[in-house]
Amino acid sequence: MLNIDSLEKGLVIDHIQAGKSMEIYRVLELDKLDCSVAIIKNARSKKTERKDIIKIEDRIDIDLDVLGFIDPHITVNIIDGGQIIEKKQMKLPERVTNVVKCKNPRCITSVEQELDQVFCLTNPEKAQYRCLYCEQEYARK
């Protein structure tokens, strides 16, 4: 198994629900980075049965708020000098902008394409988000 010690500086996005790593890769636009990125799928975990892990080398300035929206169980380790200097537990962000699209065909965002797609946290217990405009709930798969 790949080892976290191999990172001198970077981020380890851990406890990703198995199978979700590609979604995170896409949302964080990791394909646009020129540093090395490792995706580990179906790693064994004590917390859950299987998990995914993403390791990003050299970069620690990535906006991670969106990760809490995808899965608040994710943890992020920030590595510098070969050490974990910070361990972050993700949480549900109050709002996310341009991460997911409103699927309501009657929503104003369906006709005015230049509008930001904004979703607001309306029920933290249910991890429920609603479109800022039409208030339709975002249905998670």
């Binding site: 104003i108 006709v111 800022l132 405009y133």
Partner: protein
């Protein structure tokens, strides 16, 4: 108060103020005939709704103000592809207050974020229509003398009916309100409304037949069962006739119950009910103009 998108944007205190002001206007309209002299209301109707638009325009004219605007997207710059945001930013240069209606949900929220002037949502698709809710609250207050301690019956299309959802949400803020929801199984209130009623500990029941529940109601709010909500004509005809209020059903109601309806009706209330003093729907329509006068005054901060 600068923007009114949803009825719940108003506190119950603000609603009380609007109702009190509307009552004063209704007592003596001429005293208010020049309150908005020199002010301009823009009515931006990206979809036609003659009733609502005329009510807004009559309200502003009755306050001494002037009106401008358009009554459908065809006659507006929207037909040329201009965005809501750009349209309202332009109109803000000409008007002191905007009332807008748009077929898409959330359109008023977009507009409100783009202008400084007061803006009233006059309906955004199936989403919100706060002046209808204010009209309903004013009517209830005038007819019953209170907004608390009431058994509120709602009958018809409770699934898609926006006015019904808004009224339930608005009435949930008052003490000791009981709801009786009368609809076919296929058109019951959506889960999120039912969840709110359950979580809020409200006394409510869902029944299928109006005659089983009408006797307990202080208010009966009738709504139209729209043809286009049904997948087929057969269902429409079968269900439509189950929810018609007629003189016979009225004999089962309390002597001081009131019947409300957002209008226009099709045949869900027979015309024989119109002469019953408990039929409040035409008085309700009249309230619409006065509540809009009160709202315009509040939003323009006219004393």
């Amino acid at each position: 108060m600068k923007k009114l998108i949803s009825p719940l944007d108003l506190s119950t205190g603000e609603i009380d103020e609007i109702i009190a002001l509307a009552d004063r206007i209704m007592e003596n309209p001429s005293a208010f005939a020049h309150k908005c002299d020199g002010k301009i209301l823009a009515t931006l109707f990206f979809e036609p709704s003659t009733r609502t638009r005329l009510s807004f325009e009559a309200a502003m004219l009755s306050l001494g103000g002037k009106v401008l605007g358009f009554s459908s997207a065809n006659s507006s710059s929207a037909a040329k592809g201009e965005s809501v945001a750009d349209t309202v930013r332009t109109v803000e240069c000409y008007a002191d207050i905007i009332a807008m209606r748009h077929p898409k949900e959330g359109a008023a929220t977009v507009a409100a974020s783009k202008v400084e002037c007061p803006l009233i949502n006059a309906g955004d698709g199936g989403h919100q229509h706060p002046t209808q809710t204010l009209t309903d609250l004013l009517t209830i207050h005038r007819e019953k003398g209170r907004l608390d301690n009431l058994t509120v019956g709602l009958c018809g299309d409770l699934k898609f009916g926006r006015t019904v959802h808004s009224l339930i949400r608005a009435m949930m803020r008052y003490q000791n309100i009981k709801f009786i929801l009368v609809s076919p199984k296929e058109l019951q209130v959506p889960d999120y409304i039912r969840d709110d009623l359950v979580n809020g500990g409200f006394d409510f029941e869902e029944v299928e037949r109006l005659e089983d529940a009408i006797g307990a109601m202080d208010i009966l709010y009738m709504t139209r069962v729209q043809r286009e909500r049904f997948f087929n004509e057969e269902d429409y005809i079968r269900l439509r006739d189950s929810y018609i209020l007629d003189a016979e059903k009225m004999t089962m109601a309390k002597s001081d119950m009131i019947v409300m309806h957002p209008l226009p009706r099709v045949n869900e209330i027979s015309t024989e009910v119109d002469s019953d003093p408990r039929a409040a729907y035409f008085r309700q329509a009249r309230c619409g103009k006065f509540v809009r006068m009160a709202l315009i005054m509040k939003m323009l901060e006219v004393e």
